[in-house]
């Protein structure tokens, strides 16, 4: 039986959901890092990054309206390209999202420290404490509150606009000279780093089945929310650049690294002197909400993979006491704590971006596999415009960004692929006989595609 979801989300609501998922570490933590890579031209990096994410959002939305089951990216790729790609993408997407959450938490710790006078070395411990708290909250379970989310988004956006308007009177225009310090390559590199600032737009896909008139509202909401955020990001980052001494931004962080609180750094002269306090408060609000959403969303990956027999069955178990997927959340929380404790944060941002780019690229291929194989069960209510050009641009854009990130993220992406294949060969393959739409396509188009070949082995919910 269906879960009786009604299509009652309008354009405004989904734009808010999307913006809420985007606003976070990308704007509150990453501008200083981007400045270091690209100089004041980091402003363009934020626009470029948005353009690269857009195709992924369109592809994901189409698949979401064809498979209204939670599991997201993992599920689409698994059903399109089989459990091998599913395993790689599932683990990659999971890592990426947990990385992103850990980065948000470290940024959150840094902003919190602006309120109290604690040495910056304590950031890790503050972040660990916050992470433990958020994991515990998720295990106990929280009520869904769309209203609270909308309020947070509105408050944050209003604060960002106020920051820009107020900052425009104070900022020093000569700080934009020279505009480009690291060439166009620097802008692309910076775009690769701040890329995660837009990944939230794909959150729209997770509510796609509840959107009224999806054929019109899904693309409009994606284009609309990304358009708004590109303008907001560009304006905010320009203000950050204009308000701060670049040397301060790139050296005032922990251990002489880039600042993790760039929005607060130059805010002392804003809002009648209370700028640092107000901006930090907003940052804490936005980053907490992002870290929480990240833990919630990333725990869906082990859960969905466990339901498909790609992970041990214990990760799909729902706690009778809390009614939450306790083990999947614990696994996710453990990775989160380990990352915060042992991995330097700047590397986190790179790896999160690299895995995300990888997953987005596979997702475009998944869409192509569905379209070309003509599988019976693939009946999307929303058809992404511009196929296949948009998907090709998405994959190529991703590859270009990936090559600009340095050796470590590339090795990380390769490691992720090898690790995913290894896990599938050792654990997954003996336990599943699912094949994706792709292998049906490759095995000869003259065969009628049978739905049972591509559906999961367990009955759909």
């Amino acid at each position: 039986m269906a879960n009786d979801l009604q299509r009652d989300l309008g354009l405004y609501t989904i734009v808010m959901i999307s913006m809420g998922a985007m606003i976070g570490s990308g704007i509150f933590v990453l501008p200083a890092l981007g400045l270091k890579k690209a100089g004041p031209a980091v402003v363009f990096a934020y626009v470029l990054a948005g353009l690269v994410v857009l195709p992924a959002a369109l592809s994901k939305a189409e698949m979401a309206t064809a498979m209204p089951e939670s599991g997201g990216t993992y599920l689409y790729i698994d059903r399109a390209m089989g459990p091998l790609f599913g395993t790689v993408a599932g683990i990659g997407a999971w890592f990426s999202l947990v990385f992103k959450s850990s980065f948000a938490l470290v940024g959150l710790g840094a902003y919190l420290l602006l309120f109290v006078n604690i040495p910056s070395g304590a950031i890790t411990f503050v972040a660990l404490g916050l992470a433990a708290l958020i994991v515990a909250l998720n295990i106990v379970g929280t009520e869904q509150s769309g209203q609270a989310q909308a309020v947070v988004v509105t408050v944050v956006v209003v604060a960002l606009v106020a920051y820009v308007v107020n900052g425009a009177f104070v900022l020093e225009t000569e700080r934009f000279q020279p505009l480009v310090t690291h060439g166009s390559g620097g802008v692309v590199t910076a775009a690769a780093f701040v890329f995660v600032s837009y990944a939230g737009v794909t959150k729209i896909a997770s509510v796609a089945e509840e959107v009224e008139n999806p054929g019109r509202n899904l693309p409009l909401a994606m284009l609309g929310s990304m358009g708004i955020m590109m303008v907001v990001y560009a304006a905010v980052v320009a203000t950050v650049v204009g308000l701060n001494d670049p040397t301060l931004l790139t050296t005032s962080g922990p251990n002489g690294g880039v600042s993790l609180t760039p929005m607060a750094d130059g805010a002392g002269s804003l809002f009648a002197g209370s700028g640092v306090f107000l901006i930090s408060l907003i940052a804490v609000l936005a980053l907490t909400s992002m870290a929480n959403a990240g833990v919630l969303a990333s725990s869906r990956f082990p859960l969905a993979m466990s339901r498909d027999s790609l992970l041990p069955a214990r990760f799909k178990r729902i706690s009778p006491r809390f009614k939450t997927p306790q083990n999947a959340i614990l696994l996710t929380g453990s990775l989160l704590l380990v990352l915060i404790a042992f991995v330097p944060v700047v590397e986190l941002a790179k790896l999160a971006s690299a895995f995300q780019i990888l997953v987005f690229s596979i997702m475009h291929l998944a869409l192509a596999a569905f379209r070309e194989s003509d599988a019976d069960f693939y009946q999307p209510e929303f058809t992404a415009p511009g196929y296949p050009v948009v998907q090709i641009v998405g994959v190529l854009g991703g590859v270009v960004l990936l090559t600009q990130m340095g050796l470590l993220p590339i090795l990380g992406a390769i490691g992720m692929i090898v690790g995913g294949i290894g896990w599938y060969v050792i654990y997954g393959r003996p336990r599943t006989d699912r094949v994706g739409a792709l292998s049906v396509l490759l095995s000869g188009r003259e065969d009628e595609i049978d739905e049972s070949d591509v559906e999961p082995s367990d009955p759909p919910g």
Binding site: D4, D8, Q144, R307, R317, P325, P460, G461
Partner: protein, 235 residues
Amino acid sequence: MTHRILIPFELPDARPVSRLLIDSLAPMDIVLLGHYGLPEQTPPEAAREEFEDEAQQELDGLAADFTEAGIDVTTRLVFGKDRGKAIDAVADEAGCDAELRPAPTGSIDRVLVPLLDTENLDRLADFVRVLIGESGTEVTLFHVVDAAAETAESEAMLAAARDEMIANGFDAEAVDVAVVEADNRSEAILAQAEAYDAVVIDESHPTVVERIVGELPEMIAQRAVAPVIVVRQLD
């Protein structure tokens, strides 16, 4: 026309409906909805896989209470995060024209009918008739005004409504009217409901405040401990 009423239960460990209330509902078609509430962390299909059997068992147990009273019921089981949404969706799908908010009750001797206007009076009266059956139950038509100046107009509306009900077969002795002046309609209805055994009310679209503090019928059922029949709007 036979009415069809939806009775929602919050699983697991739902509170059964009292036999007395079951008997009063007997003339209607009854749809039982088992709603298994989930936190936002849990995808419904994963919870269904895990808890469906025991939830269905519990729902069947609740349905057995009705079967024993000689009433046929249909059951629906939903796993979800938004109870109000699930209730509305199932009510739509199953063609229910009313929803029950159950509450413990003894015999139903006094029924409160808060009115905004008389548009839906026929249907409200129908449900009142079902509830009171042949017994000499007392029915109060109730209206809240914000200003004393509106009292006369309000009394006239209620008097007309009362006449109409009497013309349709209600005992003149049994139907009375009450007008109260208050700033907060919900609070006034809640206070009035304390003295009644059941409430029949029009569905209204919840205000922002209601969304946060809880919807009126739910609050009546809990605070005034009176079962509420919410008569749905027909589009």
